[in-house]
């Protein structure tokens, strides 16, 4: 613990919030917002016991009760989290570049421009010049600037997903595949290590699999999340039911990404043709791959918002060092 105290930034403020030193502007805005919110909530509590986190437990002024610090995430969870974060970031970017080589989705075994896609992104010629268009079933959307037609180095270019979302930024199927397939191995090996370890030490069964009580608490947990209230005290030491369901969902999504990705491989299809039956064909697998990736992106966005709302310094630190300050229960 002592070694970690040097970097404890909680000095003069409340224990939940750190001053935004050296942070990017975005993070500073986010923290200020959270700080204000937390201050407002913590007001009565603060009057009773001024919270100043001691620099080290041994040196703490005895009359003040120090905030409880727990070791929240194990080393395996922390490492696999960051490997996963990097791999997913790169898989999404390179996946969108690969998607751009044929920005249409089909259902079944087969599908090309000569068949009917249920989703297509492209540039179309109009009397007003080229426009970006996204077609989903019978619906047509003008998505100029983002999908179908977007600027690359200031020049409007026909392109499925825009340059700023893809890896590499320029359109190159060969290079994007190199990124994608390297990090596919990283993602898969990381996922296997995490899963096997989690089952072995019962992290999955104990911390992630929801209990009956958890499931019964779904309505109140949803209400708490909607009011942006985060658990405190003992409740903050365990994952709440929505976290459990979200993390289980992410595990399922990563598994589906790997399985549908493999189904797109003609070599794997020869070795395991049943994959084609499970997913309804190679083009269906490609579409499911895209949907699951979209859900993972949605997970990441909600996840980041929750990190910001729950106190980004404390949350991010707990995923780096494991150290987590438990917020006291409200009076």
């Amino acid at each position: 613990m002592n070694a970690e105290d040097d970097d404890a930034p909680e000095g003069g403020k409340g224990p939940n919030v750190a001053p935004a030193t050296g942070e990017a502007a975005q993070a500073a805005v986010a923290e200020t917002a959270v700080e204000l919110e937390v201050d407002a909530k913590a007001e009565p509590e603060r009057v009773l016991e001024p919270e100043v986190e001691p620099p080290a437990a041994a040196e703490a002024p005895s009359r003040r009760e120090p905030p409880e610090v727990i070791h929240r995430h194990t080393l395996v969870v922390r490492l696999s989290h960051w490997v996963n974060a990097l791999a997913i970031f790169i898989m999404v970017g390179s996946g969108l570049n690969i998607f751009n080589a044929h920005p249409s989705l089909y259902w079944g075994q087969k599908g090309s421009e000569l068949d009917r896609p249920f989703l297509a992104i492209g540039a179309i010629a109009t009397p007003k010049g080229p426009r970006g268009a996204t077609v989903i079933g019978p619906l047509h959307f003008d998505t100029t600037g983002v999908l179908g037609l977007s600027k690359v180095h200031g020049v409007a270019t026909a392109r499925g997903w825009p340059s700023w979302l893809t890896i590499p930024g320029f359109q190159d199927l060969a290079d994007a595949r190199h990124w994608h397939f390297f990090f596919a191995w990283v993602l898969t090996i990381n996922a296997l290590i995490y899963l096997i370890w989690s089952l072995f030490v019962r992290h999955l069964q104990r911390d992630i699999w929801p209990t009956v009580g958890d499931l019964e608490a779904i309505p109140s947990s949803v209400a708490d999340h909607l009011r942006l209230r985060h658990p405190t005290g003992e409740a903050a030491k365990r994952y709440n039911v929505l976290q459990r369901l979200a993390y289980l969902g992410l595990i399922l999504l990563v598994f589906l990404m790997i399985a549908t990705g493999l189904t797109m491989s003609p070599g794997i299809d020869a070795a395991a043709p049943w994959l084609l039956d499970v997913f309804g064909g190679r083009q269906s697998a490609r579409s499911i791959h895209f949907f699951c990736a979209s859900l993972i992106v949605a997970f990441v966005i909600v996840h980041l918002i929750e990190v910001v709302l729950a106190g980004p310094i404390n949350e991010v630190r707990s995923m780096i060092t494991g150290r987590y300050v438990v917020r006291r229960e409200h009076a």
Binding site: E37, G111, L114, W164, H178, G267, I268, A270, I305
Partner: protein
């Protein structure tokens, strides 16, 4: 106040996510990394893992799925060269490819030079398979042709031969979907012998019950069903057995391989 700060927190959360996604180039320098040969070498390591694992999984000679006539694509997309340029090919097409010859040479005991009629007279295999383009689309077609293994056995595979190299009659200058402008070059491809002698690897002369048409590779094209479309060389004139790919054109074993694509295209 609370509402305002919550909204600010939400907005900043979304903005942070967006920034993280948008910042590929600036934060992670993806494009600069992409241009680094040593980084590309690191990424390339995965190609070896993929090849090794698929070789293991396919060591029993697994077959690609074969479909039924009801599954045929109503229209089968043609890609790459749609009509080879040049007088030689035009003359051959005018003659309905009657004088087209397929040469099998290199590290073989008995070099072959076969006319189209001779090839059609050889035992043929018909298969309805799915063609998977590296771009992402798929089409199902019926192919008839002579198993390549039969041709290679007839020629007698020389000791030490490792690859079959396919030389084609078309020059290709790239496709935008595959990465923008490409230097033009003669199309060629190569396979490891284990894939060349697979029962579904055929030199096809018919598609959907009719002689192969020009956009799909007339008069002869390779079908190698457990790999992606760019391996399926069209307009094949010559098959050379060799022990190395270095020294042939760009040295990577194929037109698209020389332009950055994987040599092993089972993925």
């Amino acid at each position: 106040m609370t509402l305002l700060t919550r909204r600010a927190a939400l907005v900043s959360g979304v903005a942070t996510s967006g920034l993280a996604l948008a910042g590929c180039e600036r934060i992670f320098m993806a494009d600069r990394l992409n241009g680094s040969p040593s980084f590309q070498r690191v990424l390339g390591v995965a190609q070896g893992w993929t090849l090794a694992s698929q070789r293991l999984l396919l060591s029993g000679g697994a077959m690609a799925r074969e479909y039924s006539l009801a599954d045929l694509s109503p229209r089968f997309k043609a890609n790459g060269t749609l009509h080879p340029s040049g007088d030689d090919y035009a003359r051959a097409a005018d003659q309905n490819f009657a004088n087209w010859r397929l040469v099998v040479d290199g590290m073989v005991a008995r070099p072959l030079s076969l006319s189209l009629a001779e090839i059609r007279a050889l035992p043929a295999r018909t298969q309805i398979t799915r063609h998977d383009c590296v771009e992402g689309w798929s089409a199902i077609g019926q192919w008839t042709g002579v198993p390549l293994g039969l041709l290679l056995r007839a020629a007698g595979v020389g000791a030490g031969a490792k690859y079959a190299v396919f030389y084609c009659a078309d020059n290709l200058d790239g496709e935008p979907a595959k990465g923008g402008e490409q230097a033009p070059g003669q199309y060629y491809e190569s396979l490891a012998l284990v894939d060349a002698v697979h029962p579904q690897t055929i030199i096809a002369w018919a598609m959907n019950g009719r002689p192969l048409d020009i956009p799909h590779g007339a008069p002869l094209r390779l079908r190698v069903e457990r790999q992606l479309g760019y391996k399926h060389a069209k307009y094949v004139q010559r098959i050379e057995l060799t022990d190395r790919l270095a020294g042939i054109n760009g040295g990577k074993g194929g037109y698209w391989e020389d332009r950055g694509y994987e040599w092993y295209a089972g993925i």
